[in-house]
């Protein structure tokens, strides 16, 4: 099991150490680790065997979470736990950076102490943690300035620690009972140079924001669950109803959470097309990229962007567009932000690249990464049929939304 957790800033400074077992880990291991990670450069390894310890590392928002162990344990467990710590801290502190961790080091210590005991995870549900250790907020800060006294440690044990739904805080009460279900999808696609769709799939999440009194029992059903290829669930989802009827039956945690994630494979079309043309001749390369709507999803497509890495053998580039703005960043990445596609014309990017002197023509071609966002549509076609509540409170508001954006959407040329 884990023996020690270190938090390192982006400059390698050890901000915090939390020893977990009797086998103390000296913080000199961090120096070793930092030297190692600098000398290794880009190749990021989540599990490292140091001369004395095995190290797990997770980097989130510039902060390195480093855990040490000397004995066999599932490495994924260590990594998942560190990710959980990072998520919880980020949620508590509203983002992660060196200052915010140093400012709230007491809370970080208290959280770590509650999340892990003797190297084994103890309480990791964000809802419960929030009840045990109050997140820093403006009121408590003001209070502490004014009265010089405030405690963020709860005096009582949250009831949920003992209940059979450990993720749910006990008996919250709301005047307005609301539950929102969002389908958030990302489209991963690969289009080859002939314009053929090689891969097109949706990675989606069902995000729920629930503010319901008491102990609500929800059932969510889809109109077309058969299209789902892979699924993963929040621990609150009961496996049986899903196995037998593809129903999501669950007692939700309070607040926002990710109910499930899914994947839908082998989609037939993409909402937009991108047609790059590169012709090179006599030391020059003409670029022409056309973007337009292919299959109208019925809602506006916005935030369309196009990015590509200019080939390394290029001396200069002169690229212009008839719509949106084109920027060439310092690391030779060309970024074209289009926004919405106008009705009257198809946006296009044109220009020439000047190749290195001895090079006749281009033989490596860039890959275009496309970004877009469509509100109100789940492109996978997944549809929520209904959401039932076993005991309906007198006032209940149910809301549904959908959103699709581009994930790893690549067009090759």
């Amino acid at each position: 099991m884990l023996q020690c957790i270190f938090l390192l800033s982006d400059s390698g400074e050890v901000m915090l150490e939390k020893q977990l077992t009797g086998h103390r880990v000296d913080r000199s291991i961090c120096d070793w680790f930092w030297d190692q990670s600098i000398s290794q450069g880009d190749s990021f390894k989540p599990v490292i065997a140091s001369p004395t310890h095995y190290l797990f590392q997770v980097v989130q928002e510039g902060i390195t979470f480093l855990a040490c162990t000397q004995v066999e344990m599932p490495p994924l467990m260590g990594i998942e736990f560190l990710c959980r710590v990072a998520d919880v801290l980020s949620e508590y502190l509203g983002g992660l950076n060196e200052d915010v961790i140093k400012d709230n080091f007491v809370i970080v210590y208290e959280l770590l102490d509650e999340m892990i005991d003797n190297g084994f995870p103890l309480t990791t549900e964000p809802n419960i943690l929030r009840e045990m250790i109050a997140p820093p907020n403006i009121v408590s800060k003001v209070l502490s300035v004014v009265t010089g006294n405030s405690s963020n440690v709860s005096d009582t044990l949250p009831g949920a620690t003992g209940s059979c739904v450990p993720w749910r805080a006990a008996d919250p009460k709301y005047a307005n009972n609301e539950v929102y279900v969002d389908l958030v999808e990302e489209m991963d696609a690969v289009i080859n140079r002939d314009g053929v769709l090689v891969k097109c799939e949706i990675y989606g999440e069902v995000q729920v924001n629930s503010h319901l009194s008491g102990l609500p029992d929800l059932t969510l059903s889809f109109a077309n669950p058969s299209i789902l290829d892979d699924v993963r669930f929040h621990p609150c989802v009961r496996f049986r109803p899903w196995e037998s009827h593809q129903l999501l039956s669950f007692v939700p945690p309070d607040g926002e959470f990710k109910l499930m994630s899914y994947r839908v494979k082998k989609l037939k079309s993409t909402p937009i097309y991108v047609k790059p043309q590169l012709t090179s001749d006599a030391g020059k390369c003409r670029v022409n990229v056309l973007v337009g709507i292919k299959n109208d999803p019925g809602k506006t497509i916005d935030s369309i962007t196009l990015q590509f890495q200019l080939p390394p053998c290029i001396l200069s580039a002169d690229l212009t567009s008839n719509h949106g703005t084109v920027n060439i960043l310092s690391n030779k990445i060309c970024s074209w932000s289009i926004g919405r596609i106008p009705k009257d014309k198809a946006p296009s990017l044109t220009g020439t690249l000047v190749l290195e002197t001895e090079l006749e023509r281009l033989h490596v071609f860039p890959t275009f990464r496309v970004g877009f966002r469509i509100m109100g549509v789940a492109l996978s076609g997944l549809q929520i049929d209904k959401l039932d509540l076993k005991t309906v409170p007198n006032r209940l508001y149910k809301g549904f939304r959908a959103l699709t954006r581009a994930g790893e959407f690549e067009v090759r040329s």
Partner: protein, 1078 residues
Amino acid sequence: MFPQFGATAESLSKASTMVFRIGTDAHLYDDPDDVSIAPLLDSKFDSEKCEALKRLLALIAQGFDVSNFFPQVVKNVASQSLEVKKLVYLYLLHYAEKRPNEALLSINCFQKDLGDPNPLVRAWALRTMAGIRLHVIAPLVLVAVGKCARDPSVYVRKCAANALPKLHDLRQEEHTSSIEEIVGILLNDHSPAVVGAAAAAFASVCPYNLSLIGRNYRKLCEILPDVEEWGQIVLIGILLRYVIARHGLVKESIMCSLQCTDSSHSEKNSSDVDFGLVKESRDMSGTCDSEFVNMVSRCYIEGPDEYLSRSSYANRVSFELNGAQFTSGKSNDDVKILLCCTSPLLWSNNSAVVLAAASVHWVMAPKEDVKRIIKPLLFILRSSNASKYVDYIRDPDRRFAADTVAAIGQCVQRLPKMTHICVDGLLALIRKEFLTNDFGSGDQEAGVLVQAIMSIKSIIKQDPPSHEKVIIQLVRSLDSIKVPAARAMIIWMVGEYSSLGVIIPRMLTTVLKYLAWCFTSESLETKLQILNTASKVLLGATGEDLWTFKKVFSYLVELAECDLNYDVRDRAHFLKKLQSCNLVSRGPEEGTNGLPEKDLHVVAEYIFGRQRRDVKAESINYRFYLPGSLSQIVLHAAPGYEPLPKPCSLLPDDLNVPEGTCSIKKGAADYGGTDGYGTSSGSSDDEEESASAYGSQRSITGSSGGSRGDDSEFTSEGNDNVDPLIQISDIGNASENENGVSQSSTNLVELMSNRALESWLDEQPGSSNPGISEQSKVRKSSARISIGDVGRRVKPKSYSLLDPANGNGLKVDYSFSSEISSISHLLVCIEVFFKNCSSETVTEITLVDEESNRALDSADQASVVDESSLLSYDNVPTLVPMEEIASLEPGQTTSRILQVRFHHHLLPLKLALFCDGKKLPVKLRPDIGYFVKPLPMDVEVFMDKESHLRGMFEYTRSCTFTDHIEELNKESGDSLLIKDKFLAICESLALKMLSNANLCLVSVDMPVATNLDDASGLRLRFSCEILSSLIPCLITITVEGKCSDPLNLSIKVNCEQTVFGLNLLNRIVNFLVECVLF
């Protein structure tokens, strides 16, 4: 654009952070010691105490040692404010081990808190009390944990489960049974949260006590989906181990489908895999896979250490799993329920859970169901590799492109249907590449090209006749390809497939002429390959071409003999001799080289003419270890790695023993018949204290014991003299346990222990003196002896390298030598014995390194041997070249010292043995016991070194030892004195150690106990240093038990290099429990 604006924005954001930081603990972290902390701690306001504690915490966070505040902080443990309590606990846990004396002051408070109505307070008290890890209070903690295990609050019960490993860490044998009993209670808990924590406790406290699981197996399976994710990960692993130990492997699973279907076949295969390189040809792929799975499943069960240490094949075959060790997944309910309960976990959003569930299916599920795990695992990666590779080739990153091309090659090997498309694609790529290559975009382009040709090569290998045209195309493009490695490979293909089809033979003359023409301008690699090819062609040639070839060949050899590079010259001489029969027109002068010409021809045929076996591209190293384990990733057995249990090792009888009797029996065994238990266990349990405290320590303890009365002395005392306290406590523990261990009603025990502690705290100054004197008396009564004649009797274990059956009558054994290499400290000396068991003379025996050959695989393997083994690899060769044995008469024996550098202390080294011109692959298995060399030192130095290697550098394991029984029985005919019994034990132990590892015996401590048959307290010390790093490594073995019974050994290793030390410890335990085979 507007730098000045950027600056404003920056300062603005700075300002906003400043605002944001108000009201946080920022100032405490930045300047933790700008006020005097001590008075704040003594303040009567909670808020001031809080601030002081936060400042201390900040200092801890920044790595400062603030343990000098300990006494003041401990006082605050009684505070009513929960925040102060929490902060005090955080501080306490960090320093308790450093300041055990003061930490004891807090115990009363914890005891009080354990009775608090607030479950949070109870839980915290328990966590902290167990977390401060003092031997003295272990009995109290045990009672508290037992009580909390029945607490109404789930949270407290969960903390109780987590406290058990902390207790177990103290390694107090007398508590083991009680701890296991509590684990059993908690595993039976009705709350899933508690069961999860209990599973974790089980895994670290008593992973072998699978009968505990058996009692609750059904329930555990059913509760599994409701357990918290972290608990699920551990519990899945435990359930899998249980099912295998109880029922064996599943017949329908991948793991044993092969052994069942045709055991005789697999037996044959298992002996072929090492020695069959020559015999097996291309159709190997099918059987190879099965062999491979076979090996994997064995490794899972036996652990690589054991698997690799099997010296001979006879052994291995004897382990052949018999039919009784299998169960059917269809009829066995336990298997079914496990699979059923883990399959929904494949949907978990915790990837560790998914992997754990997937590994259960991988091992246990029927073959046809295993595919279920593929999709969830791929989903974790969030990518599918179904897309066509062709698109990646244009990727700007050329290194990636090279990898892609290699992947295409592998793809084709798996999917024969795609062959044509892929080959066409690759050819087109090559054509394009050598066009662009002229523009000099560097090494990476060359990499792509080489990779492409390598892929084609491997594709052709599968079915040469159908790819004739491809070869021709490649040969045609030879002129335009400039990369030496690529050229060499194409030339190799010419030689290899020279007799293929009808067109190639016709081209050969032209090609060879072309090659001869450009020979001088080629690079080394290509030159060697041209020579090889020419001789291959020559061998296969017939008719009129023969003359041309001969001419070209002699021209080439002549050129090569004048080459600047001596490798080339060497090769040329070699080939000239070899081909002499073909070159010289047959005449009367037969047998000029001492060998009949015919033989020479055969040799040449053999070297060049045979089919090559595919070299498995994929490394199998990572398959040694269970999927999802740390060991699998770091590629060595991490400390604590356990393979799956032996199938059916858990008998149904074990389950029927009720828990109560079980523990009572154990208790009885522990205490029965040992009058001097209190004293003897005192010295054996805490070997490190007694070891170091022996001499000079006494005076210190004496003085501190006298002045213990006043407080100031109490606090200023260093950490050094914790020993007397612990020794007293051990006596206390023992007596306390004699009374209390079997009792389950908590009240009485608690009362007693409470009283015991209080009385102890009160009476401390007074009682410590007699305690010490008693202890030292016990110590004095142990004697140190020396066993002089052991050295002579040490005979290192011999392993078999080559069986006479496989080596045409040549038998090769090896044993690790205690000699130290004079060349490099990275080398291990091995003595190799060659014996000719056949009736004919064996000639030209030599051993070379296989790996370095493979590095030059693009070239012809067999003939590159000589120069490659000399090539240095990381400056030190894997194998220092061995002096060749020119000939070995029948029945003759000879030996050679081999100096080898193992790359890994578990993985075998592949060597090639040449005899009579034949190559036999052999495997040299490393023994970590010989990766060290003796480091002579006297006891004082040993103690001193040991005292510097505490904590994380110290690891202990225990095992039983039986060797001496035979020895004793053998001599029991004579009237043996008791003293000699001890001596016999010492000797057999020392002999065992020295025969299996390269150590130096430092000292033997022998108890002069009242009980003459009691060997407890016997202690042997060994020392050595690691060859590669020269870091010392200390080994202490302490014996416990009766002379005539199996002895309990506790082996302790102190070493700075943790991983090495632990592996050495494991090895020592392994060979100590091994039986001697006479």
